[in-house]
């Protein structure tokens, strides 16, 4: 009997213990709870839609405020939704009805059509009082569908892993810097600050629920203190969006939170198997550190070379090749003919560069090669997915360098200096029997990519290392806010890559043929590569870093000064000037920036000029065994 009793006690204690171990995760319960609340609110909104007369101002306002309530509920779970299934999220609160995307791991595939729906689109449609109720109900119904995705076991399973929390949190912090404060998915700017404040409170609750769950890795006290100070900062900010201090918000709150979160990722030893973290670097302590994410593998075939001395050798041969006109069919043009290393690797003296024939001009402005490694798609139209293809594309292009691969290679290898160097490095490429054009282009990209890792005064200011002028701070706040620049030029590279930095974006802004705005530039842009209606006249969003040095601007170099660029955007692009461009993605409403505000913006842009290492041409080019090649000029003839 006693033994039986002991056994019973043992069984009960084991049972309770195992129950405790497999205890319920409070944050997962809250997640389910929230989904059902959102679903409830959606149904209510659908009912309200039937009773609402949009011509009646009171009813309309009431409907919009219910919409805002629903979005607050949604934002409470943004933390998970965006991390777990970003494509389903587009149907809950997407910014555009159709987006075409090629993400970093979809490089082999044609772009994907991703349809958006949900609250932002409804709110934009409601600006028109004669909006059809069908359009609104369709949008609500598609968001019903994506809620089911978020409730699916396969999705929830991923968040049950306690490590996932830290990676979702990282994305949340990056979005706090790059998206939530710019109005990217919130058309009514009066709602931006109140929504942000509420979302931060909801996330605080989520943090607590996570910490109470079994197996959770606790947030450290430093993180909690920093988070509370961020909440205090937000409660001190006015609801008026125009007054929001983006600069202090990111420098003193978001970036320190990001740093501590990265530190916790390393300390807890958590790791991610999600493709959302593919490009992000766990050991980077700041959003404004260039090691934050990787866009291109710039070492080409020499990816396995880690040894610094060898890399330096490859880089110095790469430099010689960069200045060597041997790469062109007529031995008169080099990479540096257009990408001038003394001019931030572009040519700011011409609108578009000369063609190979030396008479005509190329259709597009030369892009700077500085920061090009932080792109997933290359060229203004995203033609290439990889630096190797891009390099070979230019060398082989009959309008640019016109070289046939085999001939160029023979010429290069006729120089003993080149031949010996590349043969020496053959052991790093076991798959290749002979030196190929890929080896040549790899050396080139190892050379010019090394100029992409410099920092700008703005980055230093974000790290509290130095300060920037007051007008530049004002300019940054305008950039993120009223001027709407940051809805396309995302923090921190200020190019078209937004967190989690997986794909390059294209925009249709309507660049004119000339500064008289008589007609649109005829260049079809992305449409040439990917012929769909949305992509007509679309171009890849470039970075605004180093803009003081990279004039002229836009794909055709139509604007010679930044003032002209500001004026173009201030008046709403092509549509704003009365030109017809039905698929323009830039708002056609004037921004109403004053000339003083434009000066602030320009002051901010100036702080994004990076101090890239000074570069001077090599003293001599390698001699060739073929005497006719030895008269070639360093950097090319034109």
């Amino acid at each position: 009997m006693r033994i039986l009793g002991c056994l019973l006690v043992l069984i009960i204690s084991v049972a309770t213990l195992s129950f405790k171990l497999a205890g319920r995760a409070a944050y997962v319960d809250a997640y389910y709870q929230n989904i059902s609340e959102i679903r409830q609110k959606q149904s209510e909104l659908l009912e309200l839609l039937q009773q609402t007369d949009f011509q009646n101002t009171t009813q309309r306002t009431h409907f919009i405020s219910s919409l805002h309530q629903l979005r607050l509920k949604l934002k409470a779970q943004d933390f998970w939704f965006r991390y777990l299934e970003p494509n389903a999220y587009r149907k809950l609160n997407g910014p555009l009805p159709v987006e075409w995307e090629t993400e970093v791991f979809e490089k082999y595939e044609p772009p994907y059509r991703r349809e958006g729906a949900g609250l932002s689109l409804i709110e934009m449609a409601l600006e028109d009082p004669h909006v059809s109720k069908e359009y609104i109900s369709e949008n609500i119904y598609s968001s019903f569908g994506s809620l089911d995705v978020f409730a699916a076991d396969s999705v929830v399973q991923r968040m049950r892993d306690p490590s996932a929390f830290y990676f979702a949190n990282r994305l949340f912090l990056l979005n706090l810097a790059a998206i939530y404060t710019t109005g990217f998915e919130c058309p009514d700017s009066a709602r931006i600050v109140p929504e942000l404040r509420q979302m931060m409170l909801d996330v605080e609750k989520l943090y607590r629920q996570y910490e109470q769950s079994p197996g959770a890795y606790l947030l450290n006290p430093a993180y909690w203190a920093q988070y509370r100070s961020a909440l205090t900062f937000l409660s001190g900010q006015s609801d008026a969006y125009a007054l929001f201090d983006h600069f202090t918000w990111i420098r003193d709150h978001v970036n320190p939170l990001f740093r501590i979160n990265q530190q916790m990722i390393r300390e807890h030893g958590v790791f991610s198997r999600s493709w959302m973290d593919y490009t992000l670097n766990d050991s980077c302590g700041s959003i404004f550190d260039k090691r934050l994410f990787s866009g291109q593998q710039y070492k080409g075939l020499y990816g396995m070379v880690e040894d610094v001395a060898t890399l330096n050798e490859i880089r110095s041969i790469g430099k010689l090749l960069f200045y060597d006109p041997i790469l062109s069919v007529n031995n008169q043009r080099s990479c540096s003919s257009c990408h001038r290393p003394d001019m931030y690797f572009t040519d700011s003296t011409v609108r578009t560069a000369l063609q190979l024939d030396g008479i005509n001009r190329l259709p597009r402005n030369t892009n700077s090669l500085v920061n090009v490694v932080f792109n997933h798609l290359l060229m203004s139209d995203g033609l290439h997915t990889e630096l190797l293809q891009q390099g070979k594309g230019v060398i082989g292009n009959p309008m640019e360098m016109g070289g046939r691969e085999s001939e160029v290679l023979t010429k290069i290898l006729s120089c003993p200096d080149y031949r010996k160097a590349f043969q020496k490095w053959m052991r790093y490429t076991p798959e290749e029997k002979n030196v190929t054009m890929d080896h040549i282009v790899s050396a080139l990209s190892i050379y010019y990519s090394s100029f992409s890792y410099a920092s700008a005064p703005f980055d230093d200011a974000m790290h509290h290392r130095s300060s920037i002028p007051e007008s530049a701070v004002k300019g940054f706040n305008l950039f993120m806010g009223k001027a709407q620049c940051a809805t396309c030029h995302f923090v921190p590279l200020f190019n078209g890559i937004k967190p989690p930095y997986l794909s390059s974006e294209f925009e249709v802004v309507g660049v004119p043929e000339d500064t008289f705005y008589l007609r649109l530039s005829a260049d079809e842009g992305r449409y040439k590569v990917h012929p769909v209606a949305e992509m007509m006249h679309a171009f890849r969003t470039g970075t605004v870093r180093n803009s003081s040095y990279t004039a002229p601007y836009m794909h055709n170099g139509v604007f010679s000064s930044l003032h002209q660029v500001m004026d173009f955007y201030n008046k709403g692009g092509a549509q704003g000037r009365g030109l017809s461009l039905p698929n323009q993605t830039l708002s056609s409403d004037p921004l109403a920036l004053t000339s003083e505000e434009i000066e602030h913006l320009l002051a901010f842009l100036k702080t994004l000029d990076e101090s890239i290492p000074k570069e001077s041409p090599p003293d001599a080019l390698p001699r060739s065994g073929d005497p006719s090649l030895n008269s070639r000029k360093i950097g090319g003839a034109y």
Partner: protein, 122 residues
Amino acid sequence: LKALNRYIAPLLILISLLPCCNSQRRSAYQFPEHFAPEIKSHYIERAEKGRALYKAYCSDCHGIFTKGKDGVPNFTTTQIDNYQAAALLGIDPRNHAVARKLNQLQVDHIMIFLRFRSKDDK
């Protein structure tokens, strides 16, 4: 008859073995029938590069414990799909760090090698 036994029989055996060697060489890769010859030779070229890369960077883990010399395991098609994803995504950062150093082209060589390698190729 002795002479026949001594010289001709081994010769006969050799001759009978020749097509064997030949067919083994030919069956290193298996391509769908609709592949045109020039496409096949292009793929073979890339697969051979993939083989070299595989030996250098993958076979330390995937292969050393199998019986074959090169020891390339016979991945199933699903596994190859998963590896393609893994290589492109770096989905398992602890084990596949090597895949992230390779460039797109090199990953592709390896996948072509794995996908079209015939199952009895060692």
